[in-house]
Symmetry: C2
Subunit: 457 residues, 2 copies
């Protein structure tokens, strides 16, 4: 099939696009962050990686997928009493925009998180990332709308806000996980500048990237402030099931008597990332211009979703549903082995850091009480060039913390993820990291021209 | 877990949102169209539906899913020589943003569509809907950017444009499937008004909703005009594999020597909707401010995708890949039975219409040469109220055509889909439709107060 010279497009008319003719998000440094964080490990397969924020694959077996699917089909055909044709329709065809496992998600939250939403308030999404975008897209009516986020912030949240053309106003984390005074200051300043702060994004449990959690009392005060200043709280909870010690704290949503909290959930860290299933609980009432109730925020999000992805793949939902059904709707039960693994890994990491970086070494870190992440402070500048050098020369990968502060090119901190490495790999990785620290301190000891010590990448 | 009166949010501070504080898209009539088209059949299970634009489920078997998964895993482990752990990682973990079956998609296009894209130009998406949004979001830099679309237009395209805040400028379909003079007029008028038309959306094969196709010569002229007026063409091809007679025409992309065409593909109508897997081929070069090549448009779309859904579920991609692998990469081969079924259904529909609506009946229709859809013109007004009446009183469902013209409340046409009904259901459905037509014509015969004849819904 060729085009003749006569009828083909004229020579020189080949389409070519300039970056400046594409949406800002593609040239925003944070889009590079997303790719860096997703793909850095693939670029350096020989290096040990403390970068990947993914769950352990130690217990993945392909037969799980088949079993989960069969479990869900049996559930549909059995308890629901549906004929085979309807089971096939659920699995193969387009389905309900808000999802086909909303009731199971609601039941899971009742069992594991002590709150049971109306299943109609649940929208099942393509990972938590789509849930964030749906909420931000719905809340953004014009250039005045803004969203707050506790900084450092999960990169994907900044990405979703960028796509929705919504500015993110950072709120200091401080030692409590959120600096409530700074939150109030930020809201007031934004309003003075003519902005309309709509919501504040927060990861109350074992946050990404800091690994710290909000005390229960801080949670209550945050809810009070949200009511006082008419903000929604966007509670993201991907790691809450993985405490290292002690009991889990109540989610904001379970304490929420004023429907202030939009709850963002993910099955990526509990069932598997490869299903790409997340959800949002949005039980806020929505009214029309005459004050008449027109449904829940979830119903409005579903409209946005119908224009974005139509449905979350029923096939993927079915696999997640199978896992829930096989574990009495409890992901605490489903992930007991993983939780033990992460606890053990954090212990190994903390011991390993103590052994390699004694007081006075200039290296310090926080002590998370769960989750996947810990933050290390080092006596030199950390940026993408140093990461590249570390991966190639020292064969160890980590995440430069500046990626979690939109707009900063570097910092002197790095995020260490301890969810995917084996204990012996953690120890070897720390040996390599200690080598990098030694090298960088030696360079810092040399006379410089006034700039921060920095390797030749 | 209860909140004490002292610490809980103050009474009366319950969050409540007003529709006007949410993005316009949720109150746009077209969001109701999306839901209507997706869920109308669920609201009237007793009615026969000519509305659903979904593929036939006649050959769906749940074992297919298991077989496809095993085929893809064997392919990964076998030909690729990857160890089990890597197969599990591909299936369970986060993966490549542009997808894990891009090479199979490229091979499929070579086999079935006579063009073989660079696999790096392929982005695998959550259905074609996400592909549309990615392209529009990337092309929309500000309020001047607009997109053209042949009208009547697939509702989901208007939805994606609405979400991206991008105006859609309609181009007349005319008898050729696109009125090229009107296209040029629309581009010129838009530029005079200060808009920047970036692309034109078109379904060249068996379009939704009209069911008509562009002649090969029209395709060539459309490509020439796109080059002359510096437009991209967004070619959407969900139904191309289902001709009713004669041979298939070349896609725009296969005729495209100037990289003018962004090709939108879907596996929803060929493998299954429940996987929600589509793709976009975007092989346009992108340059920076200095004219340096920075990659393909596909790479920029991947950045947007990483902020929107991160990955298309690898599990769902794996099922689609299995189907491709089992059929020598050919979906023509994979869908031979379905194509035969659709051909037979169209024949039954055309014969049934001839029998029930002879010349002079005031009812006419077009004769598609393939696809899922046909358009009926009737001598009365068709709107959502009449559809509701038809579903309840006559137990037959169809799609009012005004949904495909953004902003119109009614028309005198309806879309009939013939992909999901059995031949005897088509005949019964047409009997019911004839009953509706008789009733409406009788009403029209009565004296009215000057308004169009209309039922009491």
């Amino acid at each position: 099939m060729t085009t003749t010279a006569e009828s083909g497009p004229r020579a020189g008319a080949t389409a070519c696009l300039r970056l400046e003719d594409l949406h800002d998000s593609v040239t925003d440094p944070l889009s590079d962050s997303m790719n860096l964080l997703n793909e850095v490990a693939q670029r350096h397969p020989e290096a040990l990686s403390f970068a990947a924020g993914r769950p352990s694959g130690a217990f993945f077996e392909t037969e799980q997928v088949h079993r989960h699917l069969r479990t869900f089909c049996a559930h549909l055909g059995g308890a629901g009493g549906r004929p085979d044709e309807e089971v096939r329709r659920t699995l193969f065809q387009y389905g309900r925009t808000k999802g086909v496992i909303h009731d199971l998600v609601a039941r899971n939250l009742a069992v594991d998180e002590d709150f049971e939403p109306d299943p109609e308030a649940v929208v099942v999404t393509v990972g938590c990332q789509e849930a964030m975008f749906l909420v931000l897209r719905a809340l953004r009516t014009g250039p005045r709308d803004a969203v707050l986020a506790v900084a450092p912030t999960y990169v994907g949240f900044n990405g979703a806000a960028r796509l929705a053309d919504m500015p993110v106003l950072p709120v200091r984390s401080g030692d409590d996980g959120v600096d409530l005074d700074d939150l109030v200051r930020t809201v007031r300043r934004a309003r003075e500048e003519g902005l309309r702060p709509r919501a504040c994004y927060v990861i109350p449990d074992f946050s990404n990237p800091l690994g710290i959690s909000l005390a229960t009392d801080t949670r209550r005060r945050l809810l009070d402030l949200a009511a006082e200043h008419d903000l929604l709280l966007l509670e993201d909870n991907p790691y809450g099931l993985f405490p290292a010690k002690g009991s889990r704290r109540p989610t904001l949503k379970s304490l929420d008597t004023g429907r202030r909290v939009v709850y963002l959930g993910s099955f990526a860290k509990t069932v598997m990332p490869g299903a790409r299933v997340g959800f949002v609980v949005a039980d806020q009432e929505v009214t029309d211009a005459d004050g008449r109730r027109v449904g829940l925020l979830a119903d409005q999000l579903a409209k946005v979703k119908s224009m974005l992805t139509v449905n979350t793949p029923p096939l993927a939902q079915a696999v997640v549903a199978g896992s829930l059904l096989e574990n009495g709707h409890s992901l605490v039960r489903a992930t007991a082995r993983e939780a033990e693994l992460y606890r053990g890994n954090l212990h190994v990491l903390l011991r390993g850091l103590e052994e390699r970086f004694p007081p006075g070494s200039g290296v310090s870190w926080n002590t998370p009480d769960g989750g996947f992440f810990l933050v290390l402070t080092v006596p030199f500048r950390t940026d993408d060039a140093l990461l590249e050098h570390s991966a190639r020369r020292h064969r160890v990968i980590w995440t430069p913390m500046h990626h979690f502060y939109a707009g900063r090119p570097h910092s002197n901190q790095i995020r260490l993820s301890f969810s995917t490495l084996r204990p012996e790999e953690i120890r070897t990785g720390l040996d390599r990291l200690a080598g990098l620290v030694r090298e960088q301190r030696a360079r810092a000891g040399r006379p410089t021209t006034g700039t921060l010590p920095h390797p030749n990448p």
